[in-house]
C-alpha cells in the first residue's frame, strides 16, 4: 500500500511534512537529511527537485535550488539517492518540482522511476488539473503514486472540490496569497479561510504550507488542518555553515517543538 495513504489512515492530526531542496547544502546531503528528518520524527519528507526557474518560490528556495544545480544535482542523481535513502527510512517520501522537469524526462518514465525508487507522491504546482485528469491520472494510479493539488485563499469552492477529487494522499493548502518563505504570523483572514475549507468535509486530509516557519505557525496549522508543511525555514536552518548538518537539524526541531 502507498505509504502516504497508510500514514493518513493511522495519523489524522499533527502530521509534519518537511521540505528540503535536494543537492543543498551539498550534493551528498540528500541521504543524511532524509535519515535525520525521519529520526527526528518527521512524518513525511518532501524532496524538492531543484529547478532553474521556480515560479512559485521565494528567495530561500530560489537560492537553495541555484546552489543545488551548481552542485551538480540532476534527476538521475536524485533518483539514485532516494533509492539509497529508501533502504533506511520507511516514512512516505514525496517529490516536488515543476512540470517541465517531468515533460523532459518523459511523464511515464518519470512516474515509473519514482515508484521504483520508493517515492509515494508528487507535487507539481504548475501542472493544470485538467491536464492531470485527462492525460496523467491513470498513469499515477497505475504506479500507485499520489499527487497533491494546491488550493489557496483565492481558490473557488468549485475548484477546491475538483482539487480534492483529483488529489490523492493529501490536499496542499497554501496558507496565504504568496510565494514560499514568508515569516509573518497567521492572520484572522487566513484562519477564516482554514475554517471555510474545514467546513467543506473534503475526502482528503489537508496539510497547510507556505509561511509555516516556527512553533506557533506549526501549531496553528496542526489545529486547523491535519498537519503542516515546513520548507524555507528548514532550508535556512540547514544552510548555516557554522554548524554541522546534524546540529542544524537538531536546532531546527528544537525550535519548532520547544
Amino acid at each position: 500500500m502507498n505509504r502516504l495513504t497508510s500514514l493518513f489512515e493511522q495519523k489524522k492530526e499533527g502530521v509534519l511534512n518537511v521540505y528540503f531542496t535536494a543537492g543543498h547544502p551539498s550534493l551528498e546531503s540528500t541521504v543524511p537529511i532524509i535519515r535525520s528528518l525521519a529520526e527526528h520524527g518527521a512524518d513525511i519528507i518532501e524532496i524538492g527537485m531543484p529547478y532553474s526557474d521556480p515560479m512559485a518560490d521565494g528567495e530561500t528556495i530560489q537560492k537553495s535550488s541555484a546552489v543545488a544545480l551548481k552542485n551538480g544535482m540532476g534527476l538521475e542523481v536524485l533518483f539514485g539517492q532516494i533509492a539509497e535513502a529508501r533502504q533506511h527510512v520507511e516514512i512516505p517520501l514525496i517529490v516536488m518540482g515543476y512540470y517541465n522537469q517531468l515533460i523532459q524526462y518523459g511523464i511515464e518514465d518519470f512516474v515509473k522511476k519514482a515508484a521504483e525508487v520508493g517515492i509515494d507522491g508528487m507535487i507539481i504546482p504548475d501542472l493544470p488539473m485538467a491536464i492531470y485528469r485527462d492525460d496523467h491520472k491513470e498513469l499515477f494510479e497505475k504506479y500507485d503514486v499520489c499527487h497533491s493539488f494546491l488550493i489557496t485563499p483565492q481558490t473557488s469552492e468549485e475548484r477546491i472540490l475538483m482539487a480534492d477529487a483529483l488529489s490523492s494522499g493529501f490536499v496542499y493548502m497554501v496558507s496565504q496569497s504568496s510565494i514560499t518563505g514568508k515569516t509573518g504570523d497567521i492572520s484572522e483572514e487566513q484562519i477564516a479561510y482554514f475554517e471555510r475549507v474545514n467546513g467543506m468535509a473534503l475526502k482528503n486530509p489537508r496539510l497547510i504550507g507556505f509561511g509555516i516557519h516556527d512553533k506557533e505557525t506549526k501549531e496553528r496549522a496542526f489545529h486547523y488542518a491535519n498537519g503542516a508543511i515546513i520548507g524555507s525555514a528548514f532550508i535556512r536552518a540547514v544552510g548555516n555553515e557554522e554548524q554541522t548538518l546534524e546540529e542544524n537539524i537538531d536546532q531546527f526541531f528544537n525550535r519548532i517543538n520547544a
Partner: protein, 398 residues
C-alpha cells in the same frame, strides 16, 4: 483559422496555461473577460482615441528608396519607432491599462528587457494615475540606463531581478512572483506574446493595429494590401505578432522572423530559440525554449536586451513548426553593422532589437517586382552607448 488561438488557449500544440494555483484566479478572470471587454464600444473608442492622439498612430509606412535600390526589391518600413515612447510596446500597454481599469485593478506590474516595455508601462501608469512597479534584470539595468532613468522619471519603481542571468527571463519570474503575492489589486502587463493564455492572444490583438494599418497603407501606396514578405525580429515576438496578425491566414504573404544569434548559434552564447530550443514550459506556456536534458532553462545571450530570452511566444512556435514562418538569425556583430547601415543610408537609428531584422534582408531573396515590409519596431536612442562604443571599430569601416 489555422493560426489563431483555439478556445482552450493553444496554437496547435503550443500555448495553454501552465500556472500554479496561486495565479489561477487572475488568469481565469482574464480568460473569461478579455474578449468581451475588448469588444465593448466604449473600450474600442478609448483605445483608438489614445492610439491616435497620444501614441501618434497611424505610424507611417515608409518606402525606403535607397535600401530598395540596394536590395533590388521594394522595401517598406513600418515606423513603430515613431510611436510615443519609441517602440511598438505602447500599443499593448495602452490596451492593457484600459483592461486593468475595467477589471478594477489599481496597481500595475511589468517585466522589461530593453526597457521599452517598462517605459511604455510606466507611461500609461502615469497617464492613468496607477502605481507602477517594473522588474528588470540587473544586467539590463546596466546596459539600458537611459530607459531606467525614463521609468524613474515617469514615477515607476524599477526593481532589479537578481536571479539567473539577471535578464528578461528573470525579470519575468520576479513579476510573476509579485503577482502571486498581490493577487487582488494588481494587474500584470506582460510585454510580449508570451506567458499563460490569454496573454499571447491578448497582446497579439493589441499589437495587431500594426498589420491593420499596413493593409490600408500598402493598398494606398501600391494598390495591393499584401506585401510578399513581412520581416520582424523576435524575442518573445510581440512586434512580429502585430505585424503578422492580419496576414496569418493569407499564405501568399510570407512571414519572416529574425532571432538573435548572439555570438553565433553554436557558441553557447545565443538566443536563437527556434534552432537551439525544444518543446517545454516557460512562464506558463508550452512553447519552444532553450533547456537542458533535465528541463532546466538555459540562460540565453544576446547583445540586445529585448531579444535575450530563452523562449518564444507560442504563436511563433506554431508558425515555425508548421512552416508558416521562416526563421533567420543575426549575430550581435551583424545587427550592429545593420544598424549603422540603416542609419547612414536612411537616416534612421534603429533599436538593437530591430537591427537584427535588417541584418538578413539580403538573404530573403526578394525579387525586383516583389515587396517586403520590415517592422521597424523601435528607435535606437536607448542603445547609443553600445553604438558609440563601436563607432571607432572596424565594424563600421568594413
Amino acid at each position: 483559422m489555422k493560426y489563431q488561438v483555439n478556445e482552450t488557449g493553444f496554437y496547435g500544440q503550443f500555448g495553454g496555461s501552465f500556472i500554479p494555483e496561486m495565479l489561477h484566479s487572475n488568469i481565469d478572470t482574464l480568460q473569461k473577460q478579455y474578449l468581451s471587454i475588448m469588444a465593448e464600444d466604449s473600450f474600442q473608442k478609448e483605445f483608438r482615441k489614445l492610439l491616435k492622439d497620444y501614441v501618434g498612430r497611424p505610424s507611417p509606412l515608409y518606402y525606403a528608396a535607397k535600401l530598395s535600390k540596394e536590395l533590388n526589391t521594394n522595401v517598406y518600413l513600418k515606423r513603430e519607432d515613431l510611436n510615443h515612447t519609441g517602440a511598438h510596446k505602447i500599443n499593448n500597454t495602452i490596451g492593457q491599462i484600459l483592461l486593468a481599469q475595467r477589471l478594477g485593478k489599481t496597481r500595475i506590474i511589468a517585466e522589461t528587457g530593453a526597457g521599452q516595455h517598462g517605459v511604455a508601462t510606466a507611461t500609461v501608469c502615469a497617464l492613468m494615475g496607477l502605481e507602477c512597479v517594473v522588474y528588470m534584470g540587473s544586467t539590463d539595468i546596466k546596459r539600458q540606463a537611459p530607459n531606467v532613468a525614463r521609468m524613474r522619471m515617469l514615477g515607476a519603481r524599477v526593481e532589479p531581478a537578481l536571479s539567473g542571468s539577471q535578464t528578461l527571463k528573470d525579470a519575468t519570474n520576479e513579476a510573476i512572483r509579485d503577482w502571486i503575492n498581490n493577487p487582488v489589486d494588481t494587474h500584470y502587463i506582460i510585454g510580449s506574446v508570451v506567458g499563460p493564455h490569454p496573454y499571447p492572444d491578448l497582446v497579439a490583438r493589441f499589437q495587431s493595429v500594426i498589420s491593420e494599418e499596413m493593409k490600408w497603407q500598402l493598398k494606398e501606396q501600391t494598390g495591393s494590401e499584401n506585401p510578399d514578405y513581412i520581416v520582424a525580429c523576435v524575442g518573445g515576438g510581440s512586434n512580429a505578432a502585430g505585424a503578422f496578425y492580419h496576414y496569418l491566414e493569407d499564405e501568399a504573404v510570407k512571414l519572416v522572423l529574425v532571432e538573435a544569434a548572439g555570438l553565433g548559434i553554436d557558441t553557447g552564447e545565443s538566443a536563437a530559440t527556434s534552432v537551439l530550443g525544444s518543446m517545454g514550459i516557460i512562464h506558463g506556456s508550452r512553447t519552444l525554449l532553450m533547456q537542458t536534458e533535465d528541463g532546466q532553462i538555459v540562460e540565453p545571450y544576446s547583445i540586445s536586451a529585448g531579444l535575450d530570452y530563452p523562449g518564444i511566444g507560442p504563436l511563433h512556435a506554431h508558425l515555425i513548426k508548421s512552416e508558416r514562418a521562416q526563421v533567420f538569425s543575426a549575430t550581435d556583430e551583424e545587427a550592429i553593422k545593420a544598424a549603422f547601415h540603416l542609419t547612414r543610408e536612411e537616416g534612421i537609428i534603429p533599436a538593437l532589437e530591430t537591427a537584427h531584422a535588417f541584418a538578413i534582408l539580403d538573404q530573403i531573396g526578394a525579387k525586383p517586382d516583389e515587396s517586403m515590409v520590415v517592422c521597424l519596431s523601435g528607435r535606437g536612442d536607448k542603445d547609443l552607448s553600445t553604438y558609440i562604443a563601436h563607432l571607432d571599430g572596424e565594424i563600421v569601416d568594413s
